[in-house]
């Protein structure tokens, strides 16, 4: 195969992997650019981990090829591939202290002792774990273990770093903190990240591009905005955020304005009955209203029979105001630029980007 494009960091063609009768990966094509933060998003069991393990070399593919930096590595063992992995369960060596865990890869590759120590300490510093060198993994918190796993991989300066739901075991606050940190580490080091998650918000927040997987197939590859605003299939529309079907179009919840009798909820001060070009509207009854701090969630049964969810920023409202709306007749509006159409169901083989 001849390519005129610059060699991408990871290039996957028609990758397949079956376990017995289970088709875990069913023909995946991917091109991941140098220095890109690339996410694979999909529900549990969609084959994300298997794709990652195939790239790392822990599994042999049933079919297809994997190239790293332009070199075909399909048949190579993990220790011959220039990638490192941050495992879902961190997989820290319990019998080694933090420093020795981080040094492991350098020691195996015979980096001299002084140099090794220097790089390991620098890596620990970059994940803000100074002073923890002598601890055993068992003496660390979940967040600290996660950082050690990250440092242990980063210290080897791989071309590609594979991360399998690295933040999955952390609580919300820590997870958000680590997201910011991951992103800044990735920018600083300029390493290609292949990041696996089932959390759509995480994928949209962090990634340059996202691939959405379902049942071993890629449904769509694109920037977070593309995937969110223009989902290619019904599966993507449903998995990446909530989608409302209104007639034969779909609209995201936060794009719908709810006009109640007391005036419009939400930011824009547009009065009732004002309709510009491209504005659409519908009438319905509030079936449920939930106050959720920053936003209020309306569930509205439209006259057309569709049920939609609308999110409104709580700019001026408080819980007292919104809860009274249950059962009220309301008008909703949205703009046609926010409508999207999704092709029918079924896993359409997605084109590689």
């Amino acid at each position: 195969m001849f390519s005129v494009m610059p060699a991408s960091a990871v290039r996957i063609r028609d990758l397949r992997k079956t376990f017995g009768s289970v088709e875990a990966v069913a023909g995946v094509d991917l091109d991941i650019g140098d220095g890109e933060f690339f996410s694979m998003l999909g529900p549990s069991g969609s084959g994300k981990t298997t794709v990652l393990r195939l790239i790392a070399g822990f599994e042999r593919p049933t079919g297809g090829t994997i190239e790293l930096g332009g070199r075909d590595v399909t048949g190579l063992a993990p220790f011959d591939r220039d990638v490192n992995t941050v495992f879902q369960d961190y997989a820290l060596f319990p019998h080694l202290d933090v420093l020795r865990n981080v040094e492991y890869g350098l020691k195996v590759r015979r980096v001299p002792k002084g140099k090794r120590r220097e790089r390991a300490l620098a890596a620990l510093h970059s994940v803000r774990l100074d002073g923890m060198e002598a601890r055993r993994p068992g003496e660390l918190s979940g967040g600290q273990r996660q950082r050690v796993a990250l440092a242990r991989a980063l210290v080897n300066e791989p071309k590609v770093l594979l991360l399998d739901e690295p933040l999955g075991a952390l609580d919300l606050k820590l997870r958000e903190e680590m997201q910011v940190e991951l992103k800044s580490i990735q920018r600083r080091a300029g390493i290609t990240f292949v990041f696996v998650t089932h959390d759509q918000e995480e994928a949209l927040t962090l990634s340059d591009r996202v691939a959405v997987l379902d049942r071993g197939r890629i449904q769509q590859v694109g920037t977070p905005a593309e995937v969110y605003e223009r989902p290619a299939t019904e599966f993507v529309a449903g998995f990446v955020g909530t989608s409302n079907r209104i007639g034969d179009v779909c609209v995201r919840p936060e794009k719908i304005h709810v006009h109640t009798e007391g005036g419009p909820q939400g930011g824009q001060g547009g009065g009732e009955g004002l309709t510009g070009t491209g504005d659409r509207e519908a009438l319905g009854t509030v079936a449920e209203v939930v106050y959720a701090g920053a936003v209020t969630r309306f569930v509205i049964d439209l006259e057309s029979g569709d049920r939609v969810v609308a999110l409104q920023q709580n700019l001026r409202t408080s819980s007292m105001d919104v809860l009274g709306h249950r059962g009220a007749r309301v008008r909703i509006s949205w703009h046609e630029t926010h409508e999207f159409h999704v092709s029918g169901t079924g896993p359409a083989p997605a084109p590689a980007s």
């Binding site: 790392a56 495992f87 997989a91 820290l92 060596f93 019998h95 890869g105 195996v108 991989a153």
Partner: protein, 304 residues
């Protein structure tokens, strides 16, 4: 068992009966509960097990009247003096130690790869069957297995037949046969703890080591071995101590070789010198105590 028993009087309910009060007391005092629960078995252990050991130790400092054959209950170091002075006993002790070490080394060399295969290579659904295959020999009587080996080792026996094409013959009866049969007998006791240790070793650690650039041999040395080392030591405690105390196998396939167990046995039976037998019996006990003390350092005793 309820905690409300305490509050019983306060909210007007009838005062709790003695049984409830006792239950509540136990609920509040886990230490007390534990000691009540363990007293009986602990008493059994102390009296029967440690008591017997103490009795042996005590007897070792007595002697036997040469004429009447009666035990003379008077403190003497004569038995130990004999053990040290007579070269034959030193030889027997060293020979027993050598046999125990050889059996342990052989069982480690055979048992470790078998355990590794069972825990990490074989498909999980076959593991129970492999486990049964390992355990099955334990269900047969010790004597049956030892005599089966005696038959196989005999001149013109199965081993001779099998080895003939290779220009070899059965080792016959003697120390090599003893080591061979003991290794066979105690192999499951090595495989089981090592298997358990390996099964507890997460596969992701092996993946992580490979991911960081380590080849399989390096992964084995730097990850697998350190993490299952305590299990190995635990297995070796079994093979070592079982071999050290054995006197039946050596009687059946050992030819004229003598081990410590035989000396003890002969002194109890034919020679009727119980104090001397006791003195000999303290040797393996002392050796094992030393072994256990060394093993404790590795954390292996937690694997038992």
């Amino acid at each position: 068992m309820t905690a409300t028993a305490e509050a019983g009087g306060a909210d007007g309910r009838p005062a709790p009966g003695p049984r409830r009060r006792a239950a509540a007391l136990l609920h509040r005092r886990p230490r007390l509960r534990l000691s009540l629960l363990l007293t009986a078995p602990l008493a059994w252990l102390v009296v029967v097990y440690l008591g017997a050991l103490a009795a042996i130790f005590l007897t070792a400092f007595w002697s036997t009247d040469v004429f009447t054959g009666e035990v003379v209950r008077q403190f003497t170091l004569a038995n130990f003096q004999t053990l040290v002075d007579e070269p034959v006993y030193r030889t027997v002790a060293l020979r027993s130690l050598g046999v125990a070490v050889a059996v342990t080394v052989i069982d480690t060399a055979i048992g470790f790869p078998m355990a590794l295969y069972m825990a990490k290579v074989a498909k999980p659904k076959y593991r129970p069957y492999l486990m049964i295959a390992i355990l099955a020999p334990l269900w047969a009587a010790y004597l049956v297995k030892a005599y089966a080996w005696r038959v196989m080792l005999s001149q013109g026996g199965l081993l001779d037949e099998v080895l003939k094409p290779f220009g070899l013959s059965s080792p016959g009866y003697g120390l090599p046969a003893t080591v061979l049969v003991l290794s066979y007998l105690w192999l499951p006791y090595m495989i089981l703890p090592v298997y358990t240790g390996l099964e507890r070793l997460p596969d992701s650690l092996l993946d992580a080591s490979g991911d960081l650039g380590a080849r399989p041999v390096r992964t084995f040395r730097s990850v697998v071995l350190p993490l299952v080392y305590p299990s190995l030591v635990a297995g070796s405690i079994f093979t070592f101590s079982l071999s050290l105390g054995d006197y039946i196998t050596v009687k059946i396939v050992g030819g004229r070789s003598q081990l410590l167990g035989n000396v003890v046995y002969d002194n109890i039976g034919a020679a009727n010198n119980l104090p001397f037998a006791a003195a000999v019996a303290t040797i393996p006990v002392v050796v094992m105590l030393g072994y256990l003390a060394a093993a404790r350092r590795t954390g292996a005793l937690r694997e038992l």
